[in-house]
């Protein structure tokens, strides 16, 4: 096994503070290296320091050894000549990384022309060959706006690799992807590894780290707290944080004991509902009876219509067929929804206190109910004076929960409520959500792309698509 790149004491700091503590590692041919950490842990900064892509105002230190040469990470621009030729840097969001007004083929071709100095028709053939091998030959003449997400991913991959580098650096390559697409990306990366290259992956995704194998380093608050062989680290975590992280993976959750109380009149009944979107049948003939306190999971790939089903049940969307019947005598305001992106679900410029006060005034609620609920949801009093964009995603989602609980809901549709949250926060949030729903006899329709999460939490599951 040969070392392709060696990093010594890579660190990031501003003039005032150390953001990433010095860390040394080496990339071996045919062996992936993964850095795993939460949002804000500093993992991306570390990768950017190595690549020479730190944002302005941040400084790097340390050395980079590659092919017998040593570069100073503290000198801006010194890594520039590695780009494309020695190190391929995969973009985070491929559909934004491709030039919107240039055909896919030309964006791959230019790597061959300007980095490997091929003649333009040779370069074109090389580009076509790459696209063909990646199974996106039909993308050739298309503009990025005409490509599906998966195709854009492959085109960007081909474009990044055209310079012929053996090292691939991928920062959050699976951000926002569903399982099927994530597996595709992993397969692309593993091709490089099998071909004798090396892949450095930066991610928050435990499953990605597990599937990549190779070496794994865990990052917490700017420090690597644990590293070693990926499978070993994940099987026998030494650091407390790693243990918590692994426990928070839905795969490892305790299955919640269920006392199915199918008693009670249904709060919602749907018969034969169906929906098409853009000429495509999302689902049809769905029958659903929802009783108080039930927890129902909905899974399926992205774009399959999971959210549409929930919106139809809430009456936010009209079904093409079938009908939805609510229980009589229950206020319409007791059917509520939690959103995927909590900041987008609050009035942007009002404080949380203001939003809650508005709700209390509208429904003439008792204000004294707020304090104990906040305590229950582990929300600190001082957060009330902030605006939605000034609290964390987890906190805001709990505020959203608080907001709907004030109306004593009988049915709550939670639309991917934790997909934007870190693992540990996700676990806390889902636990609270399920606990409170059970306790108050509120039926919960939980939509998630994560089948493990649904399996571990729900009484029964509907699968779409």
């Amino acid at each position: 096994m040969s070392t392709l790149m060696e990093v010594r004491d890579a660190a990031v700091h501003t003039t005032e503070a150390q953001l990433v503590q010095p860390f040394s590692f080496s990339l071996e041919a045919g062996r992936p290296f993964t850095i795993l950490g939460e949002t804000g842990s500093g993992k991306s900064l570390l990768a950017q320091a190595v690549m020479g892509l730190l944002p302005e105002g941040l400084m790097a230190s340390g050395q980079l050894g590659i092919e017998g040469e040593t570069l100073d990470l503290g000198r801006p621009g010194s890594q520039k000549r590695l780009w494309g030729r020695k190190v391929s840097i995969l973009p985070q969001e491929p559909w934004l990384a491709l030039d919107p007004i240039m055909a896919a083929q030309a964006q791959v071709e230019e790597g061959y022309r300007f980095l490997r100095n091929e003649e333009s028709d040779v370069a074109r053939q090389s580009a076509n060959r790459d696209l063909q091998q990646l199974g996106v030959a039909e993308a050739r003449r298309k503009l990025p706006g005409q490509l599906s997400g998966g195709m854009a991913q492959r085109v960007a991959f081909a474009a990044a690799r055209a310079g012929g580098a053996r090292i691939v650096i991928a920062d959050e390559p699976t951000k926002g992807l569903d399982v099927a697409r994530r597996d595709e990306v992993i397969e692309l990366l593993m091709r490089e590894v099998r071909a004798g290259g090396c892949v450095l992956v930066i991610t928050h995704d435990l499953a990605l780290a597990r599937q990549m194998g190779g070496d794994l380093a865990i990052m917490l608050e700017g420090r690597i707290v644990e590293q070693g062989e990926a499978l070993e680290v994940l099987a026998n975590p030494a650091h407390d944080y790693t243990r918590r992280l692994i426990a928070a993976d839905p795969e490892n959750w305790q299955t919640l004991d269920v006392e199915i109380s199918s008693a009670g009149a249904p709060v919602l009944e749907a018969t034969g509902i169906g929906k098409t979107r853009g000429g495509k049948q999302l689902f049809s003939g769905v029958d659903l009876t929802i009783r108080p306190g039930e927890i129902i999971g909905v899974t399926g790939p992205s774009g399959s219509g999971k959210s549409s089903l929930g919106d139809i049940l809430l009456g936010l969307l009209k079904p093409d067929a079938g009908q939805v019947q609510r229980a009589t005598g229950i206020s319409i305001h007791r059917y509520q929804k939690l959103y995927q992106d909590p900041p987008a679900a609050f009035p942007a410029r009002a404080t949380l206190k203001q939003s809650l006060a508005d709700l209390v005034a509208l429904h003439q609620l008792e204000e004294v109910r707020i304090a104990p609920l906040m305590q229950r949801l582990r929300l600190a009093e001082h957060l009330l004076d902030r605006r939605p964009d000034q609290v964390s995603g987890g906190e805001l989602q709990r505020f959203a929960l608080l907001r709907v609980l004030l109306l004593d809901p009988v049915f709550l549709f939670a639309d991917e409520p934790t997909s934007r949250l870190d693992l540990i926060t996700q676990q806390e949030t889902v636990e609270l959500l399920v606990e409170l729903a059970r306790e108050r006899g509120c039926a919960l329709l939980l939509v998630s792309h994560d089948t493990a999460l649904i399996e571990k939490t729900c009484d029964r599951t509907i699968s779409i698509g």
């Binding site: 410029r349 203001q354 508005d358 429904h363 959203a400 109306l407």
Partner: protein, 277 residues
Amino acid sequence: MSSLVFAQTPALRFSLRKSLGLFILAGLVVFAFLPLIIGGADPLKQSLRHSLQPPSSAAWFGYDHLGRSMAARLAAALRLSLGLALLSVVTAMVPGILLGVLAAWRGGFIDRAIGAVSESLLALPGLLLVLMLTAIVPDNPAMLYLGISLVLWIEYFRVTRALARPILNSPAVEASRLLGFGPVYILKRHVWPEISAILLRLGAFGAASAIMAIAALGFVSVGVRPPTPELGLMMIELLPYYEEAPHALLQPIAVIFLMVLALQLLAGRQNSGKETA
């Protein structure tokens, strides 16, 4: 209750540019309206022995070719420009915003209908429209006001509609509706704070273009007619005397420059025509 919320809108946190703009504008307003309070020379009174007299300690701004007090004339011209611009902006703003919200809210036919009206008014360049309206009833500032407002409301309408549409379709509004809030609340808490944040910007740009248009029409002698003091008109009147009395010609130029500059500083940086495109 609402003051608590608005106190935090970023529009009210003034940058250095904005403070400078506000400062200049305040200075011009004081200069324009102080004579009304403490009294001053008559802008129309001629006295040929003062003709083209340079600034002195007695008359800081000197006199024009007919011996009229430049200070009085500038102040009167400023009052006309600022007043007409402000009036036009307010007249354009109210229906522009209301129609914009209405179009975004109702969509469909109403949206298309108002859109079509605005498009057809835009078919002709703004100044041409104003020019033709002033030709219908000459010597009447009301036509000037009507024409400018007719051109300005479109910008408010388009910006408001573009801004309100995504807000009204956002999860935040959906959530508020589910929680039982009505249209008034949604306008007050969701739509208005976003619009009010750019109101100043739009208003300042609108006022600047109104002032430019008034002066341009005065300059080509089809807007306000003499002897009414108007900045563009004053320039064309004083142009022949630029050699004997450059100070006189420079004064209305400086005033209009300061006024438009102040408004541009207040408005902040223009956004690459994204709102106009």
